[in-house]
């Protein structure tokens, strides 16, 4: 088949989009917009920051989760604090990452950082569909000096299987 004919055929083909649902929870989009800031719990506790609900339409769908979180630690002196961040499907931990915030100065200092989480959930449902699944972003610190005043974003993109 001549190339120009193939090209004309391609011109009329409409590839099917896979993104069928996009849910987002963004309780804060700028730093400082949560006042007073949310205190991050110390282990073994966790602080729930936000959640989204996704209605899964097929067992073969994937859910692409992205989370972004601003964190601030108030140090009295030189030190470090470690924050554990998790994504949950219902009550099941499906993703976990860790962020350390540190201060190099002997005088009191406030140190801010940003952290990103990204996970693809392949096993969103195992039974009948449609079913609504809740995804939650939560955090825990190893010292009671960490807060979040934003931004906090959690998005869930439902993608059909590849053609």
């Amino acid at each position: 088949m001549p190339e120009n004919i193939q090209g004309q055929l391609n011109f009329f083909q409409r590839a099917k989009g896979l993104l069928t649902d996009f849910q987002v929870s963004e309780p804060a989009s700028t730093f400082g917009s949560i006042n007073p800031p949310i205190e991050i719990a110390v282990a073994p506790g966790f602080t729930t920051l936000t959640s989204v609900n996704v209605t899964i339409n097929s067992q073969t769908n994937r859910v692409w989760l992205n989370g972004t979180l601003g964190l601030t630690a108030a140090f009295d002196a030189v030190g470090v604090v470690t924050v554990t961040l998790q994504l949950l499907r219902g009550t099941t931990i499906i993703y976990q990452t860790t962020k350390t915030i540190s201060s190099p100065t002997v005088v009191p200092a406030t140190v801010s950082e940003i952290v990103h989480l990204e996970h693809i959930d392949l096993t969103a449902v195992s039974g009948e569909v449609p079913v609504t699944t809740t995804y939650t972003l939560r955090a825990q610190a190893d010292a009671a000096i960490v807060t979040s005043s934003g931004p906090i974003t959690l998005s869930a993109a439902q993608l059909e299987r590849n053609p």
Binding site: Y95, T98, K99, E118
Partner: protein, 165 residues
Amino acid sequence: MTQNSQSRGIVIPIQDRLTEFQFNEPISTPIADSIPLVNANLAEATININDNTDRVLITATVGWFNAFEEAAGVAAATFTINRNGIPIASVVQTVANPSATAANIFNVARIIFVDQPLPEVIPAPGSFIHGNVQVTYTLTADASVDTVATTGPITLTLSRIERKL
């Protein structure tokens, strides 16, 4: 996205669609045995390109750390996206231990990159691709010291964004 151009009395729909999604997430929750980041291959995924105007949205997210001994210091890690083995995007990130206390200092690296116009898979200007052309993307890492490592998470995604006029 759909746009309508009616400046000349005609309607031209422009559609950008996510038409293929590939990913590799070898670690989603921390593993027991750490993986050193010096000259490391972290993730790999392959996607099909079938049109000259296709673009690939690439995202990568890596949790990593350095195990500092009893000294203050700084360690660096470089994360690179490669297309068919050729570097096309990278970031450098550091972690710092502020005191002489031994500590694991953690950080999270994030890369977002749109690969276009995919010169390796476009045969020639004005020509058309016949069928699918597979393109492999890898996420690699390197580090300033051999105590830099990861226990996860490691996520690499590829989204083909297809444009049809």
